[in-house]
């Protein structure tokens, strides 16, 4: 019985005799593996990034976005006649529509859209100067600050209206550097989830001041706010029609009392101030009555400019536990378009995976094609070895090798080529994926308009999956075994008498 070590020795010796051919076969296998591994590493990496992004979008699980139905911009003026009859005339959203929706059971709030001011992180003492200079501020804090629009309000100073509050159990995910809801978790922190509607005519008014020493926001005094407010009001009157600014924005956010791993972003007490701001907003609004106009203007494409009190979009906040899809359907039946973001994290991840699967399939098919060709080469190399080794096979048989041992020797040779090619291909594939990842990230960081946007760009889109790697090696070993099966059987059936006969 041949010892395992001797199998390997005999196999490598045989392979070494046909170096060129073997190297060619190994390189071919490696090429196929490179394609598959590179594609997989990058796609897995992109998925990791996407999953993080999904998490940040999950903030609106019970919000319905409402749009003014079949694009009213496309509507033609009445005198356009018959053409318009074919279309269903949809009005813009209005306070009357929102009032109606507000009256439905399960609806927490319904309101007009808002515009969030551009985000700026220049309140931080060590503001990143370039795309690659992210140090200085705890990354979890920065990322949360930039990606979580609700927290952005601390700096954009929109006037929030608290419409719902609840306690939530949170868990700090060290790996992601983010807080996640974890109702069943053992180690949890209590956070306060506050649903707010942000309405704003005076979003530019600063209501917070950043304390550089304590690294936290502090509310400004009433006098300072009022002073800013008056100054802004004068500016509005000069520059804009107040009606335009009467549109407000709706945003549901999550305010967390504390954030382990970084400083407090918004103190819970801040939420209590929200109620005061509601009155303030109403007061401001009463001093600036909207300009009433009945004039209808049609644009170049027949679009009708919305009148005062008409909106192209809005948002409906659904109560916890209410059937969001049923409410969305009801709004749809009113003639408006709806978009719910009620998909769970898993649903979004699944949707993403399904789109990635197509890309993966194409890459894997291409890699598989190359691997198939490589298997042909493995078969050819092993076949050639068998043909060239007939005398040796005969000798081995005469000296006591069994048919099974001969078969194993040649199967081992085929498998060695497959596994060597896979390992080499895997290493090269990873290297290539790392290079591409580095290049893509570098390019993306150079391409951002604002340095802060670079904060959202991950350091790498490279990821390895140990299970996939193991499967690939086992798969390559099996496929090369299959490729070597025919020649190995031929070797096992070599007649030693004929093989040793020399004319």
């Amino acid at each position: 019985m041949i010892r395992r070590r001797d199998y390997l020795r005999l196999t490598t010796q045989k392979l070494a005799l046909r170096k060129k051919r073997a190297v060619f076969a190994i390189i071919s296998v490696a090429l196929g593996v490179i394609v598959v591994v590179t594609a997989n590493s990058l796609l897995e990496g992109v998925r990791d990034v996407a999953v993080k992004t999904i998490w940040t979008e999950e903030i609106d699980p019970d919000l319905i976005r409402v749009y003014a139905g079949e694009n009213p911009y496309e509507l033609l003026p009445p005198e356009a006649g018959p053409k318009q009859k074919a279309k269903k005339r949809i009005e813009y959203l209005s306070e009357a529509v929102f009032d109606e929706i507000r009256g439905w059971p399960g609806v927490e709030a319904a309101d007009r859209p808002i515009v969030v001011q551009p985000v700026s992180v220049n309140v931080f003492d060590k503001r990143p100067r370039g795309a690659n200079e992210l140090q200085g501020v705890p990354e979890p804090m920065l990322l949360r600050y930039v990606t979580d629009r609700a927290l952005v309000t601390a700096n954009t100073n929109a006037i929030p209206l608290v419409v719902g509050e609840r306690n939530v159990l949170l868990r700090f995910d060290e790996k992601r550097g983010k807080l996640e809801t974890d109702p069943a978790g053992e180690k949890v922190w209590l956070g306060r989830e506050v649903t707010i509607l942000l309405g704003d005519n005076y979003a530019g008014v600063s209501r917070f001041q950043y304390d550089y020493n304590k690294r936290e926001f502090k509310p400004l005094g009433e006098d300072e706010v009022a002073s800013q407010h008056d100054s802004m009001e004068r500016s509005f009157r000069v520059q804009y029609d107040t009606a335009i600014f009467n549109t407000t924005l709706t945003l549901k956010g999550r305010i967390v009392g504390f954030c382990p791993g970084s400083k407090v972003l918004i103190p819970l007490e801040t939420a209590a101030l929200c109620e005061k701001w509601v009155d303030q907003r109403n007061r401001v609004a009463s001093r600036n009555p909207a300009r009433v106009t009945s004039e209808v203007v049609y644009g170049e494409r027949g679009r009708r400019t919305p009148k005062t009190g008409e909106y192209t979009e809005g948002a409906v906040l659904v109560k916890k536990g209410a059937d969001i899809e049923a409410i969305a359907k009801r709004i749809d039946e009113m003639g408006f378009s709806v978009a719910t973001q009620a998909r769970t994290f898993e649903e979004q991840a699944r949707a993403f995976d399904s789109s990635m699967r197509i890309v993966k399939k194409v890459a894997f098919a291409f890699g598989g094609l190359i691997l198939g060709l490589a298997c042909g080469l493995v078969w050819s190399t092993t076949s050639k070895t068998v043909s060239d080794s007939r005398v040796d096979i005969g000798l081995f048989r005469a000296l006591g090798a069994t048919k099974r041992e001969i078969r194993r020797l040649f199967l081992g040779e085929a498998m060695l080529q497959g596994v060597l090619g896979t390992v080499v291909g895997m290493l090269l594939g990873w290297a290539l994926a790392l290079v591409i990842s580095h290049w893509v990230i570098g390019f993306a960081r150079r391409s951002v308009y604002e340095p802060e946007e670079a904060l959202l760009i991950p350091n790498s889109i490279f990821s390895t999956n140990p299970r996939f790697c193991l499967l690939l090696i086992v798969g390559a070993a099996l496929v090369s075994l299959l490729a070597g099966l025919l020649p190995a059987n031929r070797a096992a059936n070599v007649d030693p008498v004929k093989a040793l006969k020399r004319e």
């Binding site: 010796q13 000296l399 020399r502």
Partner: protein, 220 residues
């Protein structure tokens, strides 16, 4: 003890039926040195291939050391060849990618002996045959006589009961051939190994205790 009883071997060459051996009965005693002679195509090599279990007789039985070879499966007959038979070929059949030591130790690979033991045994045997300076030489770096001595060492490495030599001097000059024959004779005498040798050379056959002559597949 080697016993062949009414052994016939037939095979087809294209459409023609060839009878290599016809009803041959032969008894070879343990520890004997016998030469098989006969013209080309008379069935000499077929005879030793039968004894080695490389061929199965069409009819009759081949019994070697009490084993009926026709009844052994591939595993058992391979083990039998590995432990009971030692081969010496006319053209040495030494793979050129192995050194003298590796070549001599080759049968032990199929026995499952570890590498260290294999090398020790091969070195000892090669030194016994005067090849201590040629241990790490490849076959193409050896003379014909040296190569055949390596082949004999390989045949002996597993302490077989029988050595089957197919024209061991056929590829050597007269003087070297004589040395090889002396070596085989010495092995037969000192180790008690049965040597069965196919040869055309009368002088080589002279070293044997008995000459078996075969013609047209039958004992002459």
């Amino acid at each position: 003890m080697i016993l062949l009883e009414n052994v016939s071997v037939e095979y087809r060459l294209k459409s023609e039926r060839v009878q290599a051996l016809r009803n041959l009965t032969l008894r070879i005693g343990e520890g004997s040195f016998e030469a098989i002679m006969g013209p080309s195509g008379s069935g000499k090599t077929t005879l030793i291939q039968l004894i080695a279990g490389l061929l199965t007789p069409t009819t009759g039985e081949v019994i070697v050391s009490g084993e009926n070879l026709s009844r052994l499966d591939d595993e058992k007959i391979s083990a039998f060849r590995n432990r009971t038979i030692g081969f010496v070929f006319q053209f040495f059949n030494l793979p050129n990618y192995y050194t003298a030591v590796d070549n001599a130790a080759l049968p032990l690979v199929f026995t499952g002996v570890d590498e260290r033991t294999r090398r020790i045994r091969a070195r000892t045997l090669l030194a016994e045959f005067g090849l201590q300076d040629r241990l790490d030489h490849k076959p193409d770096q050896l003379s014909g006589g040296e190569a055949q001595r390596v082949a004999i060492a390989r045949a002996l490495i597993n302490n077989p009961k029988i050595i089957l030599a197919d024209e061991p001097t056929g590829n050597l000059d007269r003087e070297t051939g004589t040395h090889v024959m002396e070596l085989l004779q010495k092995i037969n005498r000192e180790r008690g190994v049965t040597v069965l040798m196919v040869t055309h050379d009368e002088k080589a056959a002279g070293f044997a205790q008995r000459i078996i002559r075969i013609e047209k597949g039958e004992l002459a």
